[in-house]
Symmetry: C2
Subunit: 168 residues, 2 copies
DNA sequence: TGAATCTGCGACCAATGCGATCTGATTTCT
DNA sequence: AGAAATCAGATCGCATTGGTCGCAGATTCA
């Protein structure tokens, strides 16, 4: 539940790879190169790169030494954008999409708190760029403060309950 | 993508309904009653309530006027617990479940930043209880500060980039 | 006390969406 | 010009989810 699609996952990995390589040379990378280095099934990756090309994240180049190239600065590509491009609009609860009110009395009151969570998640994903991922590669997780800051949530001056930090 | 399952969605709605009704009378509510009032297909709801009973959120009572009753204080039931009970462990990226390292060089470096997001989401879901949802029913969304505070993220002293606040 | 009825319980079936594969169009190098 | 290598689109099979049906247990009323 609440999982990222493999597609989205692969896309992020691939884009990160592009960002890393692009620092060294401005050449295009073929789908095969990326697939080999990232351990992604080539056919699937092709489809993803294709879509990323259409949606403006990558520039495709035909020909023998063709391939793909990042279209923008990795700083300007947020995880959210990528996920949206690949998987379509991000939706938490199903009601959000449907225009009609779910009807009865107190039925849909749950939506509001959920929507908050939803928005928080979006804000979270939005605040992380490919560039961030690149920098964040090999540091230890729990110890240090986040490099580009992972978020600060709208409102919410109070502190959250202690709440078992068991994060599984 | 990143959507809550209908099952989980329904479960939250149902639990909230239980919490609301329980304030007035301590009686059990039949599956039918909940289904009618919440607009959830009865057979599906039955299955959900059944599972919620097994996992200790509800107490089931047989007999002519039987039904279900909340097993604990709605304050003590977090959205995360419910989602986990219904949909299984919450997982963001697929790699998190697999024990084996995905292998190559820089391949899995994306995981770390994603894991942060993942944990943030979990913390978020954990901090919201059924009780919160109840209180949060009819207020206006954007205007006021959050009642039980929806989160404050670990670390992250800096502010996030301005970033288009378009949240769809 | 017995039977009817209402309840929860478990297993089964259908469908949307995801993942993977195959074939075709376009460009560059020889 | 030919051939190799690349991107591009369409198609197929599978898995998880959503939804339904029939059965067993408990209670209550006659």
């Amino acid at each position: 539940m609440l999982r990222l699609t493999k597609k989205a996952d692969y896309s992020l990995i691939a884009l990160k790879h592009f960002a890393a390589r692009q620092r060294e040379s401005g050449d295009s990378l073929s789908a095969k190169e990326v697939a080999d280095n990232c351990g992604i099934p080539l056919p699937l990756l092709s489809k993803l790169l294709q879509k990323l090309g259409k949606t403006g994240f990558l520039i495709s180049e035909y020909g023998t030494n063709g391939g793909y190239r990042l279209a923008r600065d990795p700083k300007l590509i947020s995880a959210l954008e990528v996920i949206r491009a690949i998987d379509g609009p991000v939706v938490l609860a199903n009601c959000f999409t449907e225009t009609l009110h779910c009807g009865h009395s107190d039925r849909c009151t749950v939506r509001r708190p959920l929507k908050r969570i939803h928005e928080a998640i979006l804000r979270l994903l939005e605040s992380v760029s490919i560039e961030d991922m690149l920098q964040d590669s090999d540091e230890d997780l729990s110890s240090k403060t986040l490099p580009h800051s992972l978020v600060a949530l709208q409102g919410s001056p109070k502190h959250l309950a202690p709440s078992a930090t068991a994060v599984k």
